[in-house]
Symmetry: C2
Subunit: 270 residues, 2 copies
C-alpha cells in the first residue's frame, strides 16, 4: 500500500490476549475483503483485573504498535480497554478508533421493547460503568443490572464451556439478574461468545443475548463505508497475528477463538 491509498491498508485490531479474535472472526465474516493486523498483548493479559491507569498505558502502547504497521483504523477488541481507554486513544491517534461497547449498546437499544438490561463482564469493565453510562445516556429510565463475572474467562480458556461446574458458576452469577427480570443480557467480554450455546440453553428464549463481537463488526463496516475506507477487490486480503508472548497454549486458544487455522504467529515487542 502507499500513503496515498489508505483503502488498501489493513484494519488494526488489538486485545489484551487472544479473546479479541472473536471480533476478527466476525470482521472476516462481514468484511471478507479486508486485511487485518491483530495484536494480542498475551505477555500482560488479562487487563480486566487491573487499574484504569495501567489499562490506558497498555492500550496506548498497543495502538502505537498497530499505527506503526500502517493500519487505516484501530478496533479495540477488548471491553476493558474500550471502557477505560477509548477517549484517550481517539484523542491521540489520527486514524478512526472503534470500541466494542458503543456497538453493543446500539444493538441493545435497537430493540425498542427492551426494558431491563443485564450486563456481564470483567471486574474492570463493570467497575468502569462504561456500559451503564452509555445505556443510561441513550435511554433514561432503562433498568440496568451489571455484575462482574471474573470466573468466566478462565473457564472459557480451560475449554470447559459445557462443564457442570461452569453451570453452577453461571447460576450464581446470573440468578440475581434473572430475579430482576432482565429481558436482555449484554455479553461484555470478547471471550463470552464461546458461552453462547450454554447461555442459550440456560436462559431459553426469554432473554435476548447481545454479543460484542458481531455488533462491533457491523459498526466497523459502517465506519469504513462512511469514511470511504473499504478495501477494493485487488489481491487476497492478509491476516497477520502478533502476540507479545508466544506459547503453544495461546496459539491453541487463538485457533479456538478465530474458529480456523492461521499462518505463523509473530512475536511483538512493545
Amino acid at each position: 500500500m502507499s500513503a496515498s491509498d489508505p483503502q488498501q491498508a489493513p484494519l488494526g485490531v488489538f486485545d489484551s490476549g487472544v479473546g479479541g479474535l472473536t471480533v476478527v472472526r466476525a470482521l472476516r465474516e462481514l468484511l471478507p475483503n479486508e486485511s487485518i493486523v491483530y495484536l494480542g498483548d498475551t505477555a500482560r493479559v488479562p487487563y480486566g483485573s487491573k487499574s484504569p491507569d495501567t489499562i490506558r498505558r497498555f492500550s496506548v502502547e498497543d495502538s502505537q504498535f498497530l499505527v506503526s504497521h500502517g493500519v487505516k483504523a484501530v478496533v479495540v477488541a477488548c471491553n476493558t480497554a474500550t471502557a477505560h481507554a477509548l477517549p484517550v486513544l481517539q484523542a491521540t491517534f489520527r486514524v478512526p478508533v472503534i470500541g466494542v461497547i458503543e456497538p453493543g449498546v446500539e444493538a441493545t437499544l435497537a430493540d425498542g421493547k427492551c426494558e431491563r438490561v443485564g450486563i456481564i463482564g470483567t471486574a474492570g469493565t463493570i467497575r468502569s460503568s462504561a456500559y451503564q453510562y452509555a445505556l443510561a445516556m441513550r435511554r433514561p429510565g432503562l433498568q440496568i443490572h451489571a455484575t462482574a463475572t471474573p470466573l468466566l474467562v478462565p473457564f472459557v480458556e480451560e475449554g470447559w464451556v459445557e462443564h457442570p461446574a461452569l453451570k453452577l458458576v453461571l447460576k450464581q452469577y446470573l440468578d440475581p439478574l434473572l430475579e430482576k427480570g432482565i429481558d436482555t443480557l449484554m455479553l461484555g467480554c470478547t471471550h463470552y461468545p464461546l458461552l453462547m450455546p450454554v447461555l442459550q440453553k440456560m436462559l431459553g428464549k426469554k432473554v435476548h443475548l447481545i454479543d460484542s463481537a458481531s455488533t462491533c463488526a457491523a459498526h466497523t463496516k459502517r465506519v469504513l463505508e462512511e469514511q470511504k475506507l473499504l478495501r477494493k477487490g485487488r489481491g487476497k486480503p492478509t491476516l497477520d497475528i502478533y502476540l507479545t508472548d508466544l506459547s503453544e497454549q495461546a496459539e491453541a486458544m487463538a485457533r479456538r477463538f478465530l474458529g480456523t487455522e492461521f499462518g505463523k504467529v509473530k512475536k511483538a515487542t512493545l
Copy 2:
C-alpha cells in the same frame, strides 16, 4: 542499614501478584524479627500461563527492583518464576536467591514412606517439569503424577473457596490423581494454601498435603542461619509492599493472603 551490616537489611520477596503474600505470612511467623520488602507484579500477573522466556525476563526485572532496595536475599515466592527463572537469577545476582520448589520437594521426601506423589500447579509450573525433575533426581522410582489446575487461582481470587462449583472443579482435577493412589499432594502454587480447608475435607487424612509457603519459610530460615544473615533484635522490623499495579481489588486480596492489615501499598515501576 549500612553496606557493612547486611544482617540488618530486609529480605526481598517477589511474586507475579499478591499470592506470594502467603509466603510472607509464613516468613513473618517463623522469622518475626526480619524486615521484608515485597514486590507483586500485579500489572503483568499471572505468569503461570506465559512462556519461559517472558517469565525469565519478568523475574529478572522483579529481582533487580528488590536488589536495588538493598535486600540481603531474594525469595522467589512464585512457583512459575522458580520453575523457569531460578538458575538465571542465581547466576545473575550476588545475594542468595531462594526458590519455592526445592523446599517443597525436601519436605515431601522427608517423609520416607511417600511412594506416589501428586503435584498441582499452573500450566507454566507443571509444563516446566521442575517439580517432577527435582523429585525424580532425589528419589528415582518415585511415582509422580502432575496435573495443571488453572482454574484454582481464579476461584481463590474470587473468594469462592467453599463454593460447590469449586468442589466440582477440584473433583475433575483430582480424581485422576486419586485413582493413581497418591499418598502426598504437593500444592505447587502460592494461592493454594487458601484451599487447605476444602482439600483437607475432600481428601481426608489419607493424603498428605505439602504447601510451598511454609516449607519455603523454613528453608529461608536455614539459609539465613547458615550465612549468618539473621537480623539482630534492634528496632521494629518493617514490611514494605510494592505493587506494579494498584487497585482496590488487589489490596483486598493482599489482605486475605497476608491474613492481616498492612500499611500503605506503594506503586513500583519496573
